[in-house]
């Protein structure tokens, strides 16, 4: 195979304000590429699978950096690094599931430059898609992963629709579990969507992982106080403890009233194209005490309806056990 280590030339723009970035994104349209920390972007460019004409680097947009405590919760600028989130006192004390999730991403060097916005908006890791094949997600008419010979041990268990790719993010399940609200700026102003609706599967749009339209930028993630100080659980299982993306991860937020669970949100990554909120599990555990029996029931109900591919059957007991542990050990 020819070496693909050299990026094709592009114009680089480094706006210092959100308005400047939006104007550039609007001007360049489909030829533009919005880049945050650059880890996902540069590997696309080096592989020459994506070759934008203009790259808009958000690294200088300092008004999108920082964690602010408000009366209703916290606001996280999308350009805040994963290291800052992992080490933030306010996030550790109120929403530790998010700092835990951020600490499990990749490696220290990657967390030092990668932003929460980039981690949430990153593209899927399906290697057929990443290699530039003409699959459904790339605008083609086939899936290379969901075939008798396809290497699909990292692919999905739920809601496949032609494409069987999964969400690679560790922070996305935590943000969905915390009922995060995503603020998006675009040429026509700003809009806010719940995290649960921010991520979209192939049935809605097979070529995108989020509702972001071309020219739009995720600016702020707002975490309401709903689960502030709740009992949290995050666990990630990957082939390697460094660098690797999750085979399955779980984020849970549980509120207990005395000895019974009064409210819970449980979300798994790596099993569907979007972070999978397990509403059935939540209904099962509400009103029950947090014990072995409830946890076992939660695990069993989590994997109901899973449709494995040739090589990813192992994800079913893995997911079941992770959800069980989330309820039992949180």
């Amino acid at each position: 195979m020819a070496t693909k280590d050299m990026m094709r030339p592009f114009q680089l723009f480094q706006p210092e304000s959100l308005d400047g970035a939006l104007a550039l994104a609007d001007k360049h349209g489909g030829d533009g590429w919005i880049m945050s920390g650059g880890n996902d972007s540069l590997s696309w460019f080096k592989d020459r699978v994506k070759s934008p004409v203009a790259v808009i680097d958000l690294g200088g947009v300092t008004d999108l950096v920082g964690i602010r405590e408000t009366a209703n919760g916290i606001e996280i600028g999308a350009q805040t690094t994963l290291t800052e989130i992992a080490e933030s006192d306010v996030i550790q004390s109120k929403f530790s599931v998010l700092s835990d999730a951020a600490r499990h991403v990749a490696t220290p060097q990657i967390r030092n430059v990668s932003s929460i916005g980039g981690n949430l908006c990153q593209d899927t890791r399906c290697w057929y898609y990443r290699d530039g094949l003409d699959c459904y997600r790339a605008g083609g008419t086939k899936c290379y992963a969901d075939t008798p010979e396809g290497m699909n041990r990292e692919h999905c268990l739920f809601n496949a629709d032609r494409c069987v790719a999964v969400t690679p993010s560790d922070t996305a399940p935590a943000i969905v579990a915390l009922d995060g609200q995503m603020t998006i700026a675009g040429p026509n102003g700003t809009r806010t969507v719940p995290a649960e609706e921010f991520f979209i599967g192939p049935a809605i749009d097979i070529e995108r992982m989020t509702v972001l339209e071309p020219g739009e930028i995720l600016t702020t993630i707002t975490i309401p106080n709903t689960f502030s100080g709740a009992t949290f659980y995050f666990e990630k299982v990957a082939d390697r403890n460094s660098w690797d993306f999750a085979l399955v991860n779980v984020a849970a937020a549980i509120i207990e009233d005395g000895s019974t669970i009064s409210d819970a949100r449980v979300v798994c990554g790596g099993v569907e194209c979007v972070p999978k909120r397990l509403t059935v599990v939540e209904e099962v555990v509400k009103g029950s005490s947090r014990d072995e029996e409830t946890a076992a029931l939660a695990g069993q109900s989590a994997v109901r309806g899973a449709t494995p591919l040739n090589y990813n059957h192992f994800k079913i007991p893995l997911m079941e056990n992770l959800v069980k542990r989330a309820i039992r050990d949180a």
């Binding site: 990026m7 030339p9 114009q11 680089l12």
Partner: protein, 214 residues
């Protein structure tokens, strides 16, 4: 926002730079001080071909100043150039290694304002105005090794040595942030540096020795 200040239409090959020094002459002098020959062929897509000047129009200015190891270095950087490429092939700082060029090995780790990052996955233009430290910038003025370098020698840290500059930079950053780490702290800090020889324990011994002796 940065904008181009020279017009490639007027003199694409040799636009003037302040002080009467032509751009080409200035770049040559920059390369000479770095004691490295022009490595355009090594850079392939990063070379300054005629199409390349066009890519800069409306975007970042190519001739920039970088703060490397406490010195200001002027260098011609194309928009899609990574910091590892600039350091190795424009500035002659080959202590920084390129292993995977994908942010998956850690050999290219350098410090930006005391924070370790992968220079292969960082565009050079994004570190303007930041303090860049490479392994060449660690030794003292009298040439003595940094305590981490000395400890790695004493503990036989490197086997083949290719990952060593990256391991050193990450360890230096750790000890600047946390002078008394536990072995577990050091393991976590070095989790982004692969060693194919498997000398991880030797490196950890080195970090713990450097922490004791510093």
């Amino acid at each position: 926002m940065s904008v181009v200040t020279f017009d490639p239409e007027k003199d694409p090959a040799n636009p003037p730079v302040g002080g009467g020094l032509s751009r080409r002459e200035l770049i040559k002098s920059v390369i000479a001080t770095g004691a490295v020959v022009s490595a355009g062929s090594l850079l392939g897509g990063c070379g300054s071909g005629p199409g390349e000047t066009q890519t800069a129009v409306g975007g970042v200015e190519r001739l920039i100043s970088l703060n490397i190891n406490g010195k200001v270095r002027r260098v011609d950087v194309v928009p899609h150039e990574t910091l590892a490429m600039t350091l190795r092939y424009k500035l002659g700082l080959t202590g920084t290694k390129l292993g995977c060029d994908r942010g998956e090995c850690g050999a290219c780790t350098i410090l930006i304002d005391d924070t370790p990052i992968y220079s292969c996955s960082t565009l050079t233009h994004s570190v303007r105005g930041r303090a860049v430290t490479t392994v060449e910038g660690l030794q003292a003025a009298d040439g003595s090794l940094h305590p981490v370098q000395q400890a790695f020698v004493d503990e036989l840290g490197p086997q083949c040595g290719f990952c060593t500059p990256g391991q050193i930079m990450t360890s230096v950053a750790l000890l600047r942030a946390n002078p008394n780490p536990t072995r577990e702290d050091a393991r976590q800090a070095l989790a982004g540096n692969l060693c194919r020889c498997g000398a991880y324990d030797h490196y950890l011994n080195g970090v713990m020795r450097a922490a004791q002796e510093a």
